[in-house]
């Protein structure tokens, strides 16, 4: 009887101290490279000025021996977990929305690619 009371107390204590956690972290530039926006760009015609006007300042400007690239990055981490005192578990998923644009010596767009997770499409 005393043993079961002790175990019950332990179980109640553990359940009272149980918790959960959820958090998210966002870093990077604002996502402006939805397909409706980048659809206005044409390789071989659009210029760096056009890209900057549509998307704003990039995360990184890369010099490529006369050519250049603009890199846009939005990093989104989501974490959730359970805290059960005797067992704790956290899961953190990080996804990267990104876009890259290559320009030739005349600042004309040569190639580009974008990636956007559906949750960030809106």
């Amino acid at each position: 009887m005393k043993l079961s009371a002790g175990l019950s107390a332990l179980a109640i204590s553990a359940s009272l101290l149980a918790g959960c956690a959820q958090f998210e972290s966002k870093r990077g530039v604002e996502v402006n490279w939805q397909s409706s926006v980048t659809g206005q760009l044409v390789s071989g015609q659009s210029t760096r000025r056009d890209v900057l006007a549509l998307l704003g300042p990039p995360s990184q400007v890369i010099a490529l021996d006369g050519e250049s690239a603009l890199y846009y990055l939005f990093e989104h981490s989501e974490g959730e977990g359970v805290i059960l005192i005797l067992y704790n578990r956290m899961q953190i998923d990080t996804r990267y929305d990104r876009a890259i644009f290559f320009f030739n010596e005349d600042d004309v767009l040569t190639e580009y690619a974008t990636h956007l997770y559906p949750a960030d499409e809106a």
Binding site: K2, G28, E67, L86, M90, R98, A99
Partner: protein, 198 residues
């Protein structure tokens, strides 16, 4: 105090003082999947269409290099703490880490044609340890910080605004996209980073 009350208090105290099993799971990026490596001389536009934007980009002497990566990190730890108010009378810890990842590297020449493609997949033990530490816990038995840090692109702007020795060295930093790139977890005491100026 009644014996049952004492027992309940002891059980409660035990729960608080004995931190037990903790598991951390990190998933960075998206799996590369069963993609077929582009063949040599594939145009950049085709590679981007196949793989999407790379996660890392850098200029090289003969063109540029692009990389895609996906990491899964599993950290398990078990610890016991006997103490209170931040001072552990005794702590015993065991930790273990497993790393699973994919890395795809493509190099292009100045004509934007693929010159090489390589991919690596790994599923390795990433380290771990055991410790019994009196009074204070000085040692962390598992360390994943260098593997889970934010992408270097976020630091690009600030890297140009460091104190002068650091700014002068910026072009040699693998984070700038001008001097090659490196994978997560690369040791900083060897190679190009060892030349860094603080």
């Amino acid at each position: 105090m009644r014996p049952s009350g004492t027992r309940a208090s002891a059980a409660l105290l035990t729960c608080v003082l004995l931190a037990a099993c903790s598991q951390w799971r990190y998933d960075l990026g998206a799996p590369l999947g069963d993609i077929t490596l582009p063949s040599p001389k594939t145009p950049l536009a085709e590679a981007l269409q196949l793989l999407g934007p790379p996660l890392l980009v850098s200029a090289t002497d003969s063109g540029f290099v692009l990389a895609w990566e996906h990491w899964r990190i599993r950290e398990n730890s078990v610890g016991f703490r006997l103490g209170a108010l931040g001072a552990d009378f005794l702590s015993a810890d065991w930790g273990d880490m497993r790393i699973k990842g994919e890395f795809l590297l493509l190099t292009f020449n100045r004509d934007h044609l693929l010159t090489s493609a390589t991919r690596s997949d790994w599923d390795n033990h990433g380290g771990g340890g055991k410790a019994i530490q009196p009074l204070f816990g000085f040692v962390s038995v598992v360390d994943v910080e260098d593997l889970t840090e934010a992408m270097p692109q976020h630091r690009w702007g600030s890297s140009l605004l460091q104190r002068l020795p650091g700014t002068l060295n910026t072009n040699s930093n693998p984070d700038t996209g001008k001097s090659g790139l490196q994978q997560r977890g690369t040791p900083t005491a060897a190679g190009q980073q060892s030349l860094g100026m603080d």
